[in-house]
Symmetry: C2
Subunit: 543 residues, 2 copies
């Protein structure tokens, strides 16, 4: 069973060092420490295990090192920055494993951009050598790319010409949409196995600056200090420590402190229950620092995040997740009000941004989510975002009308989806005035009110409840898993597309298609043929 | 060999009738007149042949009947509007045929919306009976949907629950993005085989109005007249006649009056050569009416459109298309100036909109396009859009500097891509000022100037030209066709996404993925199992 638990003292593939406001995250992949013994991670190529460490490092810099204002992403290997995703790993992976791998690496790169855009943490890709495929895609996620000009080091996206697949970690999208490289130059670049180096890489907009070997190290430091100078993060620490989650894992459940996931594998369903906050909110951001990672919003959302990731990679046949909450609506609203009011505090900001990323992870998870809202639940504010993220929500219309949901300021802006809109704005795409009106209501909604307001899908009464929710889950479980994945990927993201949604919608969908095509993964396909004797054999029909 | 040539007197599946400003396009599919004898087109289900007639009818209403201001789309079958794409046809089709079928039907529905948005022609879907799948997707493309309230007639998207595929003709996108149905209701609707009828279909926003059987016909007429009243099309005709194109087809070429396509099947390439206008532009829009479909812009772009369509469905292994033009740069610019200045004339408007749709068809064609610009070519204005639509353009830097390209007002707005931007604006996404500057230049660009301005990819000199273009084509031909399709689909559409690009990017890419999945098309997949004994068997792993 794969877990996402790691820490700097256990990293096998990265060295994280600190020098005042500049941290250096240096790739030094241990060839023999891949997740599987079937391949060797040569030339700083990576698998999911390498990327889990990268994601962890970025997360820790954000929470544990507020005094860090810029991160240099580089390599400790001579003349090699990174050769990209390991090809033998890809070749040996199931379709689902490839898709999950790409999804996680995409989320990690978007987390880098999220830190830059919202958290004052800037990233410098210091390419000290060959930078190919996923290596260049990692660089593309940074704010600035500098490349050593040694006559040899080049950036490249050789996936399409060499392997018959796409650069699947946002590369194509970021080249034309983030760096705004002209599409014809992008076409040339993305079909040129050897890539581009030196002055030409700058002219085409693929890197920002090149430096001769003799000046490279100094230049990297200068650029990193310049990036750090623009940060609004605290001048000094301390941060908080992200302690291990250590859930209790049994054959049919994962239990954290505030989150429980129970599996019913016969029915291919899981129930995820999130416990709302037990305590009143703290008085200040500094009190949050004192509470550290035990502060409920951070603790609960770290657990949700971890549970979703484990579900994705370890529980492939669980098609439907029922979301429940327990606790007290008012307590969630009180906590949310504290968070919304204290977003200028560095740690509160980080926590809210982390909640946002966790909810995006739910949006992007290829499982059906149904929220079941029953008396004793705590679907308010930030926890109600889970119901809004769900494909459907069922709210029990109880006779005594105690079952309630509530909105909070956290539903009004701090937790946008990857389309740039809040979940409420996406839900009521043609009625922004209604969104405002709902947010201004200073009271919970009972089931009839919630249904009338369109905040829940349906509110069956006590006579119908059991049958209705049971049948909904059973019907869902009978449908083609692939059709549900495609359906959800299209219905969840109404409204504008952003670079982020383009990466997951357009780019990833095409990549997933290619990952199924014999020209890539068949016995004679390019991904299979690479590195073996002989050339790939293609079906030449264009589709 | 499939052709796209048809006319109302040869329609097998539609009846087109006229009553003043209202035309009625009534579906009456001939069961035994499918493109293949392997299936019967029962219950107004359709195949590509049915949709070719629909596309033709819409085109003819635009050009031949300017006095028509609204179109009623309905059915002549009792209690059946349309059962959607024929399932036996889909089941028996190759992957490529399915993909091409969906692409064409999507383009046809977008042409309906284009007519409504830009040409003053409004569409009313008059659903006189069951309206399922692709039938409802056709209705979604109309401006208004009315449904008979007879206790039986429903709208539905049963593809996902019944067949394990998506509604692939824009249905999911239009439900949430055009009609802005709430995503949870859209989820319920798209998984409910029997669909929704009557008042509930109105409440959910799936149709605009329902009428009892006794009132239906009158109500349809009333609504159609109301839609027609808002039109800015001419009060009376005549229009122009779209005569058959009648190209000369030989084993290795298709020759039209202004367009020639020559195939080199060994190299899997084609050369498409477009001849620029020979004559000076006419003096007025009325002169264009007199010239009819022999007016160069309409004649040439109809031929380009037909050639692209034939290439898509008949020449599957032709991976690369070299685009050339012949003629005179100044003549194209003069013609473009006339078109741009006369867009308020109904026929000029229709011609420009048709040129736009043809160029979009090129953008969406899964083939590599390289434009070769040599002395004697006419890559100016609207023809230069072909070079801008191409994945790369090569311009010969001739010693005597006679080779030239030019821009015209047609590059500045009238021919946007499906992302809503002009090709120039997409090309220079981060530099709108440069676009303006280029458009204001009142002179051609020689090769050095064009390369410097970024208007062409590369401008090799006479010594390098032959090798460079030959190697480019040869290299392209060796790559995986699927990787090139995915690459181009991602690089061609930088910038904003629209409902239109979402349909082709997100929705279509997911559908193509599903069309490859064993859960849909495997021996036990849902598409194969439907209508046979036994239920589908799924691999339950979620991806």
């Amino acid at each position: 069973m794969l877990t996402f638990d790691t820490a700097p003292d256990r990293y096998r593939h990265w060295k994280l060092t600190f020098d005042g406001p500049v941290a250096t995250l240096a790739m030094d992949v241990a060839e023999d420490a891949g997740l599987s013994p079937d391949y060797k991670l040569k030339l700083n190529s990576y698998d999911l295990g390498v990327d889990i460490e990268l994601a962890d490092a970025i997360q820790r810099i954000r929470f544990e090192h507020p005094e860090v204002h810029a991160v240099v992403v580089t390599s400790l290997k001579e003349r090699i920055f990174c050769a990209g995703a390991n090809i033998m790993m890809l070749r040996g992976s199931s379709h689902g494993a490839k898709v999950n791998f790409c999804k996680f690496t995409n989320e990690t790169r978007l987390a880098i951009e999220d830190a830059s855009a919202h958290s004052g943490l800037k990233f410098l890709a210091a390419l000290n050598g060959i930078c190919a495929g996923g290596g260049y895609e990692l660089a593309l996620a940074c704010d600035e790319i500098v490349l050593v000009d040694d006559g040899n080091s080049a950036v490249s996206l050789p996936e399409a010409p060499l392997l018959g697949v796409l650069p699947g970690t946002g590369g194509l999208t970021r080249v034309v949409d983030k760096r705004r490289v002209r599409r014809d130059l992008a076409d040339c670049f993305s079909t040129l196995v050897e890539g581009l180096k030196g002055k030409r890489a700058v002219e085409w907009g693929l890197v920002d600056r090149v430096y001769p070997t003799s000046q490279f190290k100094d230049a990297v430091q200068t650029r990193a200090r310049a990036l750090a100078a623009a940060s609004d993060r605290p001048a000094t620490g301390p941060g908080i420590v992200l302690t291990p989650l250590r859930p209790t894992v049994t054959p049919d459940a994962i239990e954290y402190s505030a989150v429980t996931v129970a599996f019913n594998r016969d029915k291919r369903t899981a129930e995820m229950t999130i416990q709302g906050p037990a305590d009143a909110p703290p008085a200040s951001g500094d009190e949050v620092v004192a509470m550290g990672d035990q502060f409920w919003p951070l603790r609960a959302f770290r657990e949700i995040d971890d549970a979703i990731l484990r579900l994705r990679v370890n529980e492939l046949e669980i098609g439907t997740v029922v979301l429940r909450t327990t606790g007290d609506v008012e307590s969630v609203v009180a906590m949310d009000r504290f968070l919304a009011a204290n977003q200028s505090h560095w740690l509160v900001r980080e926590i809210v941004l982390f909640m946002k990323r966790t909810l995006k992870r739910v949006d992007l998870t290829a499982r059906t989510f149904f929220a079941f809202i029953e008396p004793g639940s705590a679907f308010a504010g930030s926890l109600f975002e889970l119901a809004l993220a769900a494909d459907r929500s069922y709210m029990l219309h109880d006779d005594d009308e105690e079952n309630a949901i509530a909105l909070s300021p956290m539903n009004g802006g701090p937790l946008p989806m990857s389309n740039g809109l809040t979940r409420l704005a996406t839900r009521f795409l043609d009625d922004p005035a209604k969104v405002q009106e709902l947010l201004e209501r200073d009271a919970p909604f009972n089931a009839a009110e919630a249904e009338e307001a369109g905040l829940v899908t349906v509110a069956p009464d006590e006579i119908d409840w059991d049958d209705e929710v049971r049948l909904a889950v059973e019907a869902r479980a009978a449908f083609s898993p692939d059709a549900m994945t495609g359906l959800e990927a299209n219905l969840r993201f109404a409204g504008p597309e952003t670079m982020e949604t383009k990466i997951f919608g357009r780019l990833t969908a095409w990549q997933n298609w290619i990952f199924q095509r014999p020209n890539a993964v068949g016995e004679k396909g390019a991904l299979k043929a690479y590195g073996e004797q002989g050339r790939p054999e293609f079906d030449w029909k264009r589709t």
